[in-house]
């Protein structure tokens, strides 16, 4: 494996790890019945090409710490299945129309079947952890404990976000946003893959707090970029409907910045718009107008620069977390994910 160079190099490595994970995942999804009402739906999102950041980060970290793909592939499949379970339920909760360039599962099959398929994905995610044959029983048990803690934190974060929208909470600052995404996104996107990769690769000897720190910064940079792409990305590359976050009234860094910097009458209009979004209604303001307000108030530039500051912290913490890890293409790949998080367009 040669070191990844630039965006294309990172994406090529992501594609390679994703393929390995998908092949392993098929073993858990193939040949199950009933097809029509359950497993066809369960197989749908995993078959749509995602970036595979989570399994790739886990596999590369494990290899960087001296482990093998065989040891880490089960947990890599587990996190990918859990991720797809979250996506199915997120799409229902957000009323989203598109996922990875195609209609969401509940748009295709209706809410009840989609929710049930999401449940199935969450349960199936446990199977690769149970089949932890290449791992010692001690490490396998710790991986399962980490998985449980990760699921719990993610669900707590999601509950907070949904609650903010339901209660139309608007008095928020960037720290609140970071607290939210630390649970909702970072834990399962970056913290868990890094912790478990290091745990398996080092047979439980590597300290994991530095992984948590690095994973938080990396995941926060990822989420800030994701929120920006939802506003100004290419729909074809991004795979979700643009401005979806504005329609749903999602509390992003840009929205928090706008609420803090808008003139009082503009702020009142934004708050009314968010209240209507929480009820699933359209207010006088269109999402495009909200975006225009954000651009005029510099909210996008604010979020971009804020994300750069977070990414800078990610660089520092990467060198702490990987201080004892010898140079390798796997280590280089993990480091290259930091600028990738800021530059990606999908």
């Amino acid at each position: 494996m040669s070191p990844p160079v630039g965006l294309e190099g990172v994406e090529a490595t992501l594609a390679r790890y994703s393929r390995l994970t998908r092949e392993a995942m098929e073993r858990y999804l193939q040949g199950r019945l009933p097809d029509r009402y359950l497993y066809d739906l369960v197989r749908d999102y995993p078959s749509r090409a995602g970036k595979g950041i989570r399994p790739s980060l886990l596999l590369a970290t494990c290899q960087a710490f001296g482990g093998s793909v065989d040891e880490a592939i089960g947990p890599a499949v587990a996190i990918e299945l859990a991720h797809n379970a979250f996506l199915v339920h997120d799409d229902v909760e957000d009323g989203s129309a598109q996922r990875r360039g195609r209609p969401t599962l509940h748009r295709l099959h209706g809410m009840p079947l989609a929710v049930n398929a999401g449940d199935a994905l969450a349960v199936l995610a446990l199977e690769p952890l149970r089949d932890g044959a290449p791992l010692s029983s001690r490490v396998s048990r710790r991986v399962s404990e980490e998985f449980l803690a990760m699921l719990t934190r993610t669900i707590e974060g999601q509950a907070t976000e949904l609650g903010w929208r339901a209660d139309n909470v608007v008095d928020l600052d960037p720290t609140d946003y970071l607290e939210l995404i630390s649970r909702k996104t970072c834990w399962y996107t970056t913290v868990w893959p890094l912790r478990v990769g290091a745990l398996i690769g080092s047979s439980g000897t590597a300290p994991l707090d530095p992984m948590t720190r690095f994973g938080f910064y990396l995941g926060a940079a990822f989420q800030i970029r994701d929120d920006l792409l939802n506003l100004v990305g290419s729909e074809a590359r991004y795979g979700k409907e643009l401005l979806g976050d504005l329609r749903e009234g999602k509390r992003t860094l840009m929205l928090i910045h706008l609420l803090a910097s808008a003139a009082p009458d503009q702020r009142r209009a934004v708050v009314a718009y968010l209240a209507a979004a929480a009820r699933g209604e359209a207010d006088g303001m269109a999402p495009e107008e909200l975006l225009d307000l954000m651009v005029r108030h510099g909210s996008l530039e604010f979020a971009f620069q804020f994300g750069q500051g977070v990414a800078a912290a990610a660089y520092e913490s990467f060198h702490q977390a990987f201080a004892d890890v010898p140079p390798s293409p796997h280590r280089d790949f993990v480091e290259a994910l930091i600028p990738y998080m800021l530059e990606r367009s999908a």
């Binding site: 001690r138 630390s182 590597a206 100004v232 500051g309």
Partner: protein
């Protein structure tokens, strides 16, 4: 820092090649705010878990103060110990399963030793006596009694050592529920040709109980009559 594009999206800039915390003075206010807010959030979270703060200043490229390669050695040792402990655990569990399975079969069973050996081996020279111990385990909830006897012991060429010559002490064994009792087998080898003979210890009154016996008879002891 590049400005935003026409559509409001800022142009990304390569952040590589600098020490972020050392370069704070070159940051914009918003970048510094992002770094500090994120740092506050994660350090608060880790403090809640009782984690240690990272050491201040830049990290040496070759490690965080440990001997180079020590982390890899430690990981390799942990891996080996895990492998060994899993092996020991699996062996123990396999053995314990076998013993448990054996004990769960309710009845009176004969063994050659108190650890469940399934064949009794006795040996001696012609003109002497071969001896061994037979264990009876009663895993029922009733007392049991048995009269032990030895079948004829047969060699590969058809020669037979009659079992009637053997004696057991005690001849009749009484075993309380859940108890084990030993009986001593004595077999005179007068006139027995050297060779390997096989037969069984049977327990009169307990048709399912039997213990294979292996007699190894050697030549007469030098100097004996």
């Amino acid at each position: 820092m590049s400005g935003p594009r026409d559509n409001g999206q800022a142009e990304p800039r390569q952040p590589g090649g600098f020490g972020p915390f050392q370069a704070l003075s070159t940051f914009t206010d918003v970048q510094r705010r992002g770094l500090e807010a994120a740092s506050q959030v994660i350090e608060g979270f880790l403090a809640g878990l009782g984690a240690q703060q990272p050491p201040p200043g830049p990290v040496a490229a070759d490690g965080n103060g440990q001997e180079p390669g020590f982390a890899q050695v430690r990981a390799t040792m942990a891996r080996a110990l895990d492998l060994y402990s899993d092996l020991v655990r699996r062996s123990f569990e396999g053995y314990a399963d076998l013993v448990e399975q054996s004990l769960r079969v309710r009845g009176v069973r004969l063994h050659a030793a108190d650890d469940g050996q399934a064949e009794l081996t006795v040996q001696g020279a012609a003109g002497t006596r071969a001896a061994g111990t037979v264990w009876l385990h009663n895993t029922t909830d009733r007392p049991a009694a048995a009269v032990l006897r030895l079948t004829g012991l047969t060699a590969h060429d058809g020669r037979v050592v009659p079992g009637t010559a053997a004696s057991f002490e005690p001849a009749t064994v009484r075993i309380a529920p859940g108890a084990s009792v030993a009986a001593r087998l004595a077999l005179p080898l007068d006139g027995v040709a050297p060779g390997l003979y096989r037969g069984y210890v049977l327990a009169g009154g307990l048709p399912d109980a039997a213990l294979p016996v292996r007699l190894l008879a050697t030549g007469s002891v030098s100097g004996s009559p």
